[in-house]
């Protein structure tokens, strides 16, 4: 199921892959609205899907008051996201989150705390969240995070390039960032809340993939509007078109605003319906979230006990 695939290398900037492509808002909204009503999972399937969602979570802390202690706590939760007795009842030996996502200066703490777990550390970089520091500094920040041990880098794009339709500038910038990432996988944050239109989202997604992104990601979590289903639908359709043209497999990461187990289900359904089961695995799908895990734990306990659970029965992140 999770057969390995070559890392996407991008392509030259191909404007005609998205020039004139218009995304219809109402139609996209209709599809996004009906997706969660057309599909659902119950019982064992629901438990399995919730566990799968956990493996896709980029457990994240991106706060101004982050400290080593805070990051250690998060990493401990990343190693053991579900109580052992629940896992046993579910017939699962081990489950971990997809990655831990922190600021560059926290990477070293996270790497240390996750040693031996196999859980990669992801770092935001490039002047997160606005991305308006000088490009050399942004590239240096990427290199710093990689040196500190980050295996994944979540970069932010310069919204100005997308809003002005300067796709060449956007392409060059992301290319340079990919270069700076080296072996670390790059997730390109489009900050879709700033791009406003779905057509902009589609185009920016296409450019980000052409420039060699391993993942395309919706939001920093700091915009007014974060990940929505219509935006996500637009991005995965761009991803599908790109994959169709190049054969390259690019992952998708919704982030910002996903808080509940139901959100996790909805986005997994989106991935399954629009891209297929392969795209529900953590090498191609991540959810950027911090509070979602707690809700999933409560749902899993309910599945095991039949009783509705409480937050204080599960370890804090």
């Amino acid at each position: 199921m999770t057969k390995h695939f070559p890392r996407p290398e991008g392509s030259p900037l191909m404007l005609d892959w998205f020039d004139g492509h218009a995304v219809n808002l109402s139609a996209t909204e209709r599809r996004a609205t009906s997706l969660p009503t057309r599909r659902t999972v119950k019982k064992e399937w629901q438990a399995a899907w919730l566990l799968r969602a956990i493996t896709c979570i980029d457990l994240t802390t991106l706060a101004g008051d982050d400290t080593e202690g805070r990051v250690q706590r998060l990493c401990a939760k990343a190693r053991a996201p579900v109580r052992a007795d629940l896992l046993e009842a579910l017939g699962i030996e081990k489950v971990t989150v997809g990655a831990v996502c922190v600021y560059p200066t926290m990477v070293a703490h996270a790497v240390k705390a996750l040693e031996g777990s196999g859980i990669p550390v992801a770092s935001v970089a490039t002047g997160f969240p606005a991305g308006l520091t000088p490009l050399p500094l942004r590239l240096a920040e990427i290199r710093y995070a990689v040196e500190q041990g980050a295996k994944e880098i979540d970069i932010v794009i310069t919204r100005e390039h997308a809003l002005r339709g300067d796709w060449a500038a956007l392409y060059d910038e992301i290319r340079a960032m990919r270069e700076a990432c080296g072996a670390a996988h790059m997730k390109a944050i489009l900050a879709t809340g700033d791009l406003k239109t779905l057509t902009n989202v589609y185009k920016a997604a296409m450019v980000a993939m052409q420039a060699g992104s391993d993942f395309i990601k919706t939001s920093t979590g700091k915009e007014d509007v974060s990940a929505t289903l219509p935006v996500s639908l637009t991005m995965v359709r761009a991803l599908r078109d790109y994959c169709g043209r190049t054969g390259q497999m690019v992952g998708f990461k919704p982030a910002g605003g996903l808080r509940t187990a139901k959100d996790a289900m909805n986005w997994l359904i989106l991935m399954k319906e629009e891209l297929g089961t392969r795209f529900m695995m953590p090498d191609l799908f991540r959810i950027g979230a911090s509070s979602m895990l707690g809700d999933i734990e409560r749902q899993l306990e309910h599945h095991v006990t039949g009783r509705y659970s409480a937050a204080n029965r599960h370890a804090l992140a």
């Binding site: 808002l25 109402s26 659902t40 493996t55 017939g91 399954k272």
Partner: protein
């Protein structure tokens, strides 16, 4: 059962059944048989009962009585008895009942959803998210109309007892579309659900008892086509409303011809789904899912003919095939299914037969790669490629989850292909360019057009077809009008037979001869032409003297006139202001010839006050000129960020048959409203006084009325009326004549299901503006096109 660990790898959906234990218990308790609901009581189910099956499981879920003529009569009598009280209730009182129905539908939404799914085979997702919410919406909306009807429709009254016959594809929703407006307007109802799907109607009757609707206001009888025929044919039914196949629509049209019953028909379709090269293709692909894979394709307005612009066709079909791979077909009570069971094995066999025909004719059938359940009437969804307009499957309604497809090169070609059908129910247009999208919407012949969407419904948005998809609208203001009548329409004395029976042989009696012989020809395509048959008939004045000869038109003259009218397409597309100018000019020129027309009328003896008649004719032309740029459509509030426009479109060619009385005024009273809204007219002049009409040719010519827009024939009224009514290229016929002629026109119209307006031989006082002109004339002169335009970036 697979382990959680395994599922984490396969990421299958697993089963998600909706519980149906309450519904099963409800059915069990009624397993002895379901009777009719007459006068507020359920009858005992007796006689041969019709078995009702769940098409997904093939299990019999109930047995329903079949109403015979006696049962139907009892139901109609109950409805008649309930009518005076119900129609006399204040709108507010009726609104309270409709509100209670809406609320109770919501309170029982799960029960109705599950029952509908078990009865029809459609998925629980659709009954839960679409059918039942729309039912509630319809009753809410019409609770509002009940409240407002007296204010909004002064001078109108309920029609009376309504006989309603509904199909099996949206059983409760179609019931709501019929019952809600009827009750709101103050009518009482006898309704027959389809024999395949009677369950939710039965449960609805229980709901009516629950809310305490007065007995007899709604009567529900069960049965098949025979029962339906008994309802439509019952002499005490005032209005018939039918939704179903075009063939049955035709039968009903013929059956009740001449009865004076009001009729609305919502029939079949073969609606185009047009994808332009600048469309959002992913959106359009999803549109196909909602168009033809919705409700197993058992949708009269399904976008079942996919038309794709050539340049994008390969990509579009590729995407469509990929999308098809994720469709889920199976147990309709499972919440993860896209497609449930077709309504019956018989219907499934019909679909399969058509699919085989399509393949035999050379088309390629692309089916979704699905495993169908072993039991039940399931059909794999799919679409044909390589279909041509000449193929059976391109013309015939498949009524299953399979579309045909064609490619086109230009917009013009798309329109030609889209309109190459007998039907005209709906159309779907996909384009990101608003100029192109709206042009397509304007040119497609369909009662409903969805731009970048499909199968959107709302109680406020009129729904109904052009051409052989029927007539009348459901929803909104125009839907309500189908259940109202103007009482004055039914008054009036009986019109005497035409005074003049055409004689084509020389007349040697008393005659008034002009200085130079006058030749009154026919007026076709802007030219004065001699009658095809080479015959003229003698016309007499009031004292029995011959005053001239008029051409005796025959079938071929009607044919030529219709052809000329159909060519004069420009008239419908000029502005209302342009048409107003022409009509004013007509009045002006008529005024200049006032003396001529006064004397022409005076000599006939058919006009008691010739000066007044000419004056009123001029005034009438002014009145319609005034209306030409004012009788507008509307924008309806439906969904947010949607402009839902209702446009008044001309029919095309309208045939009008004038009366002997007031020969000038009655003729113009029919021609003018049709012209006002952009129709072309083939008019049959008063049989006995044709020489008044023939004088109009020169007025028409000098008034800038383009050639072919008005064509005038003289001759034998009912012979010409019959040819017009039968003509498949005439879209509407208005007939002033006698009772038998009215019956003949209505029966003959069944061929292409043109709309008709006949007066059953009732005289009209043409001088009275309330009878001889007005919005009713204009309403009859146009058909509504509802255009849904979602917006937003």
């Amino acid at each position: 059962m697979p382990s959680i660990k395994d599922i984490m790898q396969t990421m299958e959906y697993g089963p998600a059944p909706e519980s149906n234990s309450e519904v099963k218990a409800w059915l069990q308790a009624r397993s002895a048989g379901l009777g009719h609901y007459i006068n507020g009581k359920f009858t005992t189910a007796e006689g041969d009962l019709i078995e009702v099956s769940n098409p997904a499981t093939e299990e019999v879920i109930g047995r329903v009585a079949k109403a015979n003529a006696g049962d139907v009569d009892a139901a109609v009598r109950a409805a008649r008895a309930a009518l005076p009280k119900w129609s006399a209730l204040s709108g507010h009182e009726r609104a309270k009942y409709l509100y209670a129905i809406a609320r109770h539908i919501q309170k029982r939404e799960r029960f109705f959803s599950v029952l509908e799914t078990m009865d029809n085979g459609k998925t629980i997702r659709e009954t839960r998210d679409i059918d039942i919410p729309l039912v509630a919406r319809h009753f809410y909306h019409h609770a509002g109309w009940a409240e407002l009807v007296a204010d909004e429709f002064p001078n109108h009254a309920p029609v009376g007892v309504c006989g309603q016959i509904i199909p099996w594809n949206f059983p409760l929703l179609m019931l709501a579309w019929k019952v809600a407006p009827a009750l709101a307007a103050g009518n009482t109802v006898v309704i027959k659900p389809a024999d395949l799907t009677p369950m939710t109607a039965y449960a609805f009757a229980e709901l009516l008892s629950e809310i305490g609707l007065p007995p007899g206001v709604v009567n529900i009888v069960h049965g098949d086509g025979e029962t339906g025929a008994a309802i439509a044919g019952h002499p005490d039914v005032d209005k018939v409303a039918f939704t179903g196949s075009t063939d049955v629509g035709r039968i009903i049209r013929r059956q009740i011809a001449g009865s004076g019953k009001k009729l609305s028909l919502e029939l079949g379709g073969k609606s185009p789904f047009i994808v332009l090269e600048d469309a959002d293709l992913d959106a359009a692909v999803e549109g196909v899912v909602d168009a033809v894979w919705f409700n197993q394709g058992e949708v009269c307005c399904a976008g079942s003919r996919i038309l794709v612009q050539e340049g994008i066709a390969p990509r579009f079909f590729e995407k469509l095939k990929s999308r098809m791979a994720t469709l889920r077909v199976g147990d309709p009570l499972d919440k993860t299914m896209d497609i449930g069971a077709v309504v019956s094995p018989k219907q499934l066999a019909r679909i399969k037969g058509l699919l085989a025909t399509g393949e035999a004719e050379g088309a390629t059938l692309n089916l979704a790669p699905v495993d169908l359940p072993k039991r039940g009437a399931f059909c794999a969804p799919g679409f044909f490629t390589g279909t041509a307009p000449a193929h059976t499957v391109s013309q015939v309604e498949i009524f299953g989850p399979v579309a045909t497809s064609l490619t086109f090169r230009t917009l013009d070609e798309a329109i030609s292909l889209a309109n190459d059908t007998r039907y005209g129910l709906a159309a779907s247009v996909w384009s990101e360019n608003v100029n192109r999208a709206i042009e397509m919407a304007a040119r497609v012949k369909a009662g409903v057009v969805w731009i970048n969407a499909t199968n959107l419904f709302d109680a406020a948005a009129p729904f109904g077809g052009y051409r052989e998809s029927g007539f009348g609208r459901e929803g909104g203001r125009s839907g309500l009008l189908e259940y109202l009548t103007i009482p004055a329409d039914r008054q009036g004395k009986t019109r005497p037979a035409p005074a003049l029976q055409p004689q084509v042989v020389p007349f040697t009696g008393k005659a008034e001869r002009p200085d130079i012989d006058v030749t009154a020809k026919l007026y076709i395509g802007g030219k004065q032409v001699r009658p095809d048959g080479g015959q003229s008939y003698t016309v007499f004045g009031k004292s029995g003297q011959a005053i001239g000869q008029a051409g005796l038109a025959n079938r071929k003259d009607v044919r030529n006139a219709v052809e000329a009218a159909n060519k004069a397409t420009g008239w419908g597309s000029v502005t209302g202001h342009n048409r107003a100018q022409v009509l004013y000019f007509l009045a002006e020129n008529l005024s200049q010839r006032r003396a001529e027309f006064v004397s022409a009328l005076a000599v006939t003896g058919a006009s008691p006050k010739p000066e007044e008649e000419v004056e009123l004719a001029i005034r009438r032309a002014f009145w319609y000129a005034a209306q030409a740029d004012k009788f507008d459509g509307a924008v309806t509030a439906t969904k947010s960020r949607h402009v839902t426009m209702t446009v008044n479109e001309p029919y095309g060619t309208v045939g009008v048959v004038a009366a002997d009385e007031a020969p000038l005024l009655s003729l113009l009273s029919l021609i003018l409203p049709a012209l006002t809204l952009g129709n072309r007219v083939v008019a049959i002049a008063a049989q006995s006084h044709p020489l008044v009409a023939t004088r109009l040719y020169q007025v028409l010519e000098t008034s800038d009325i383009p050639a072919g827009v008005v064509n005038l024939l003289t001759g034998e009224r009912d012979v010409l009326a019959k040819t017009l009514a039968e003509h498949d290229d005439v879209a509407a016929v208005w007939y002033c004549g006698d009772d038998e002629g009215s019956r003949m026109v209505e029966a003959a119209s069944a061929g292409n299901l043109k709309t008709t307006w006949v007066d059953h031989g009732r005289l009209r006082d043409w001088r009275d503006p309330r009878q001889g002109q007005g919005s009713e004339f204009l309403r009859r002169a146009c058909q509504l096109k509802t255009i849904w335009l979602p917006y937003g970036e």
